[in-house]
């Protein structure tokens, strides 16, 4: 019941504007401080015994890759909220998250490519992980292009939400592409594809503590930054919709005045 009441409270755009207006400066400042501290720790950590100083790229590449997928999960979750529950802020959230997710996906690809050249000897290989993340980037662009190509905003929202939910099938594909999937009780065994990409570096990985702490701090800091940017973009979208509603109201009033004048 408590969760429902919080959702209901946030469903009101005016209340969301008041709440987000109070939270946003603190969220942004916290994100900036944590990212700065993570970079300080990362750049002062000893070089990796195999990769040398190129391990520094890991502190940004891994958070960007994580946020590329998390951003899409947010778009899909919001789209589901629009299509199934008709939550007033769901479409605002989906629209706001798409360009931010696209930017992080682009950065994951660029930093990954710049890490790949010295480590693998090539900027790019058409293997499962890299290709599926490139497809994710195109999917983000597709969502943005589809929405902007339809003038009727309600229809644009619904069609974009449908595409976002269809595209969510890509997320497990990206995950499985490197690590494979084994669910013995279902008899499911998907082997990892042949790839140059290593399994994800995260909580359970074996990297040294001096590198793991800055990496986790960086991932946490950039995640907060993502949510701050998403909140800011949602606020802007709500303002844009208010501006549009007021303009339509002005035009309607002007027409009504003209009609009254003509009748007189």
């Amino acid at each position: 019941m408590q969760t429902q009441s919080i959702t209901q409270k946030l469903a009101n755009p005016t209340r969301f504007m008041a709440l987000s207006g109070a939270i946003l400066p603190w969220l942004s400042a916290t994100a900036a401080v944590i990212i700065a501290y993570a970079m300080y720790r990362g750049w002062n950590a000893p070089p990796d015994y195999q990769q040398g100083e190129t391990i520094l790229i890991m502190y940004i590449h891994v958070p960007f890759a994580w946020l590329a997928m998390m951003g899409y999960a947010l778009v899909a979750f919001s789209s589901f909220g629009l299509l199934v529950f008709r939550h007033p802020l769901a479409d605002v959230s989906a629209k706001a998250a798409a360009p931010i997710g696209a930017a992080f996906t682009f950065l994951a690809l660029v930093t990954g490519s710049l890490w790949g050249k010295p480590m693998w000897g090539t900027y790019w290989v058409w293997d499962a992980r890299l290709t599926s993340v490139l497809m994710l980037f195109f999917l983000y662009l597709g969502l943005i292009a589809l929405r902007s190509s339809i003038e009727e905003e309600t229809l644009a929202s619904k069609l974009t939400a449908v595409l976002a939910l269809v595209g969510v099938a890509l997320l497990p594909f990206i995950k499985i592409s490197v690590e494979g999937l084994s669910i013995p009780w279902l008899g499911l065994e998907i082997p990892a594809w042949n790839t140059l990409h290593q399994p994800s570096t995260g909580m359970g990985s074996t990297i040294h503590i001096s590198q793991r702490i800055p990496l986790l701090l960086s991932a946490f800091g950039f995640s907060l930054a993502f949510f701050a940017m998403h909140m800011k973009a949602m606020r802007t979208e709500i303002l844009r919709r208010r501006v549009k509603a007021l303009r339509i109201a002005e035009v309607d009033r002007a027409r009504a005045r003209e009609a009254v004048a003509a009748a007189e």
Partner: protein
């Protein structure tokens, strides 16, 4: 700080991140300020929501 023989790749990665994220934040801040200004201008001109205006229109039409 010595970044070793692959310094260019490290610097290019961080430069790309700084450029893209700065651009994204600048766009978000500019667009937010732009929409806020438009809304304030409309409100200063006395623009109101459709629900209120339609009531006003009806009352105007009745008189």
């Amino acid at each position: 700080m010595d970044l070793g023989s692959h310094a260019a790749f490290i610097i290019a990665s961080y430069a790309a991140a700084i450029i893209v994220l700065t651009g994204l934040i600048a766009w978000l801040v500019y667009e937010g300020a732009h929409q806020k200004r438009l809304l304030e201008d409309l409100e200063a001109r006395g623009a109101r929501r459709r629900s209120k205006s339609s009531t006003a229109t009806k009352s105007t039409a009745n008189t």
